[in-house]
Each structure stands twice: as structure tokens, then as C-alpha cells.
Symmetry: C2
Subunit: 216 residues, 2 copies
DNA sequence: CCACCTTTTGACCACGCGGTCAAAAGGTTG
DNA sequence: CAACCTTTTGACCGCGTGGTCAAAAGGTGG
């Protein structure tokens, strides 16, 4: 009557188990940290969400702080990636539009990452100060130079590159960080694709027209 | 040798004591909550910052949550105040510029308020959901209508009023919420007045030119 | 000055938290 | 199968936390 091979867990190689668990934990942690912040999140909550007992989470990540740092690391990489391919050779007409599209897509696809990053900055960046001052600053300075080059070529009017970037970041990330407020004020259960598209359209318009980039 | 009237605390009326203490506590709480969030803030830390023993804080505010709600209430009033005097009669040229100026000034003068508000939204607005859905939504809808009226009068080109407001909020508040990031990337110890002015100038330019508001 | 109310304060408590541990279970390798 | 390593798990712990309490101190009003 009983099946010959009892339905005990399939034999899985350790490497796979390890990878799967780490992934599950990181995923659960990202969601929890985004929802309730670092202090508001308990290791037990992460463990529950990941479907593992609490000590197992501490087995893979030595401490709650270690886990948080691991989460932050992935987020920062994602964050800096989008800035990469702004090039002085491209025309700001396409480059800026593409950048806005990428950043808003990121807010739509990885809202938790954006929220964690925002909360970290908000509270004084106690865990990623060094990365801000190092890699991110370098990236930022490079991008500022790209915009300066565009201005020098007459491709756009002279505006502060630094504040242009600040505004771009703020406006695009708000589609993740403040999505709740948007949802409430737009009377929606969830932001829809065309909400993000409207954001892209408006912001592109403001930036291109505002910086005097000829749309041809 | 000793002075005749020993330097004991001056006799102060209870009403004054009460008001002073409540103000001190609210002030200390605002700073603490902004710095470390709701969960990350301890009542003891607030009490220390206010120069009072912990049970005294709990005497004036029944609980940590009650204190947080009191802080939030003041912040929300401040937040909605700025939206008030957008009127369909005014021309967007001045109205939008003034609004941007007000909001960025607010970020400069009350950064803690902005941070607390941002963190609250970020984490799902567990304590001010009702106010968002009520008063703020009403205010928002009114303001959207004002912008629609401007468009109908031909004073600005047709853009999404909702997303215009979202962008305005995001860009202006980021001068409080992300001031740390700005400081690091601009290599400053503190944001200076001209940093805020540059933000005002850029954002005004983007919005007015971007929305086709004639600058005359 | 006295009875009364408000405020202040140190001591205290229950509880939830991050983290530990040792033993069991499961995978690996010859 | 046997010796060994990695992973899993329940039980446990010390500490910091929000909150309480009762007594003392201080202000108030007749």
C-alpha cells in the first residue's frame, strides 16, 4: 500500500543546499529589512520567512548585522550598475532618457532594494559610509564629468550636473520608496505599468526640455 | 561665606514646567526618531537627550508609540501646510517657483521632520495610513485640480499633475532625506545655503521649462 | 501653614531579542 | 559500511527594552 520509496527529502548535494539556503535567507532578509528596517526586523522573522529555524540563519550568517551587510552589498552593486554606461560620446537625448528608464524600471522591479538603501542613507549610512565615500563618489565624479562634457559640446544648456543627478535619483527612486503614498493618492491597490510609464514620460520631458536638449 | 539665597531651582509655575518639558521631549524625540527610526530609538535615549529621567517621559506621553504619534502629528501638519496656497488664480510661473522654494526651505530648516515622514512611508505608513487616505488625499486632489486649471487656461503644457507633484516632492525632500549622500558626494561637512539655492534653481528651471511655462 | 494635587525619581519587572551550544541528522568520501 | 565533515535543531541564556509603581519632592490655593 505504501509507496516503495518513501517520500523522504530527495538527496541533494551540499553545495546546492548551501546555495539555496543562502539565497532564501537573503531574499527573506531583503523583504523584511525593507518592510521594518534594520532594528525593526528580528532574526526570527527572517528565519520564518525563509522557512528555516532561527539558528540555521545564524549558521550561514554570523550575525544579524552580517546578514544586513550582505544584503546591502548586493543592493549597492545594483545601484551603481545603472550609472555605468553614461558616456560623453552618447548624446544626452538618448543617454538621459535611457538612464531614467533604467532607474524607474529598477524601482519597479527591485523596490525593496531601493527602500533599504534609502533607509540606510536616511539614518546616517552607518553601514555603508565607506562605500559612499569610495566607489560611489568616484562613479559620481565621473558622471558629473560626462555631463560637463555634454554642456561643453553645446548638447545641453549649462546646469549643475550634481544637482541634476540628485534630482534624477530622487525622482526615480521615489517610485519605489514612496510607492505607498503614490498608491494611496492615486487610489490604486498597486502601481500599474502605465503609472511607471507616466513617470518616465514626465521626468524625461522635464529633464530634456529643462536642460534645453533638442529633441530633434 | 555662603550666599544667602542658596541657588536652588527657581520657583516655576506648573503650567510652564509642563509646557517646557513637553517641548523638550518632543524636540529630543524628533531628533532621535530621525536618526535611528522608531524601533531603533529607545525611550531612555530620548529621556537623556531631553535631560529628564526615563519615567518622566512616560509620565507625559503614555508610551513610546504615543510619543511617536505626537511627533508624527506635528510633522504631517507641517507637511500639508506647504501645499495650501497653490491657487488656480495665481500663475504657475510664480506659484510653482514659490512652492519649490518653500519645500526646499522646509528640507533645510526641518530635516528631521522630513526624515521621519520618509521613513514612515517607506515602512508602509503603519501609523499615518489614515491621515494619508483622508486629509492628505483631499489636499492632493485639490492641488491636482489647480494644475489642471492652469493647463486648461493654457498657462502650461499638458503634463500629468499627479506625477508632477510626485517629482516635486521627491526632488525637494531629498535635500533633507538624502542630505548625507549629497554631503559625501559634494565633499562637504554641511550643505551650504548655496547648495539649496542651486537645487531651487535647477528644479525651478526643469519644471518651468519642462512644463512650457513662459518665463516672460 | 496646611491639605491637596502634580511632578519627579529610583527601583523594579516581564518579555523579546540576538546569539550560543551540543547533540542529532544528513551528506561525502574512501 | 565506516569515519568524517556539514547542516539542522531544540533548548537555553544574558541583556536591553518598554513600562510600572510607590514614595518623595515640589507647586497650589485657601
Amino acid at each position: 500500500m505504501a509507496d516503495k520509496k518513501t517520500p523522504k527529502r530527495a538527496r541533494r548535494p551540499l553545495t546546492e543546499i548551501r546555495q539555496d539556503n543562502i539565497d532564501q535567507i537573503l531574499k527573506a532578509a531583503e523583504r523584511q529589512f525593507a518592510e521594518t528596517g534594520f532594528s525593526g526586523t528580528t532574526v526570527a522573522a527572517i528565519a520564518d520567512a525563509a522557512g528555516l529555524p532561527k539558528p540555521n540563519v545564524l549558521y550561514y550568517f554570523k550575525s544579524k548585522e552580517g546578514l544586513y551587510r550582505a544584503v546591502l552589498k548586493r543592493i549597492l552593486e545594483l545601484w551603481m550598475e545603472a550609472m555605468h554606461d553614461l558616456s560623453a560620446d552618447d548624446h544626452p537625448r538618448e543617454a538621459l532618457r535611457d538612464y531614467i528608464v533604467r532607474k524607474i524600471r529598477q524601482s519597479r522591479d527591485y523596490p525593496d532594494a531601493s527602500k533599504i538603501f534609502a533607509a540606510e542613507i536616511l539614518h546616517g549610512a552607518p553601514y555603508i559610509r565607506a562605500e559612499l565615500e569610495g566607489p560611489l563618489k568616484v562613479q559620481f565624479d565621473d558622471t558629473v564629468e560626462v555631463i560637463r562634457a555634454w554642456i561643453a559640446k553645446g548638447w545641453m544648456e549649462p546646469v549643475s550636473p550634481e544637482h541634476l543627478l540628485f534630482t534624477l535619483w530622487a525622482a526615480t527612486q521615489s517610485y519605489a520608496d514612496f510607492s505607498l503614498q503614490m498608491r494611496v493618492l492615486l487610489a490604486r491597490d498597486e502601481l500599474r505599468d502605465d503609472d511607471f510609464d507616466n513617470g518616465i514620460e514626465l521626468l524625461t520631458r522635464l529633464v530634456l526640455k529643462g536642460c534645453g536638449v533638442k529633441i530633434v
